[in-house]
């Protein structure tokens, strides 16, 4: 399996139309016409978005009769989210605590030392 190109994955996910297309594909494979239906966009414009998603490895496309079906590939999405998940969670929680601390410090510039109940 190809290693996930995280830049390409995150770049592809940065666009709301492409995220909407991926959401539709979680229900099953779709043709370009089916994917274009909810949008005011032309089919060629949707095809360009599909090309970006395909390059990022987020979808694969197969030809069935005259229709071209798009298929959601979950692995790159999983890689992209799992890879940073632990690191992101670490900083999210740290920064959430820092935000709360800064709010407390501004509410009371000289707070008592915040010892635990055992102190």
């Amino acid at each position: 399996m190809q290693p996930t190109n995280l830049d390409a994955v995150f770049g592809a996910l940065a666009d709301p139309t492409r995220r909407a297309i991926l959401a539709h594909l979680t229900d099953g494979d779709r043709t370009v016409a089916q994917l274009a239906a909810p949008f005011t966009m032309s089919q060629p414009a949707i095809s360009r978005h599909l090309k970006v998603l395909e390059t990022a490895g987020l979808i694969t496309r197969t030809r069935r009769a005259t229709a071209r079906l798009s298929h959601l590939e979950a692995a790159p999405l999983r890689d992209a989210t799992e890879w940073l998940a632990g690191y992101q969670a670490w900083w999210d929680e740290s920064h959430g605590r820092l935000e709360a601390l800064l709010a407390r410090l501004q509410a009371d510039p000289m707070p008592p030392r915040s010892g635990g109940p055992t102190e």
Partner: protein
Amino acid sequence: MSETRIQAPDGVPFIDVERAFDAPRDLVFRAFTDPDLLVQWLGPARYEMVIDTYDVRAGGSWRYLHRDADGREYGFHGVFHGEPSPDGFVQTFEFEGAPGHVALDQLVLTEMGGRTTVHTHSVYQSIEARDAMIENGMAEGMNDGFGRLDTLLGRLVPVA
């Protein structure tokens, strides 16, 4: 709402972390450099943070550890380079579980309209070392990976 933006681009051994806080820069600087304040926020709450040394000056060294509920300790240490100021500071950063793999962190604080943005740019010795830091150094949340995938896919639902 503020959120922490983390970027680990392909092809370069960097990690960039950025977050804005609703506080003046001097106070944010204090929260990063006063050991009594630092222990109150750095790392998830389930770890006890213990500061061994925190000598905030050019050439001063720092060392702290995070201790989990089972008593396992994860130590980190480094040295401040240049005089730390509310503009920011530069430090080396070494996880004691991977001795010899030293990152260079540059922290920049910018204040605008009463809000302070903290940007940390970390340079690792190699892309492999950078990736190992992300994968293993703070891997606590890795088990949540699938839960987070569900959350992300939930977020993919188009907004009407």
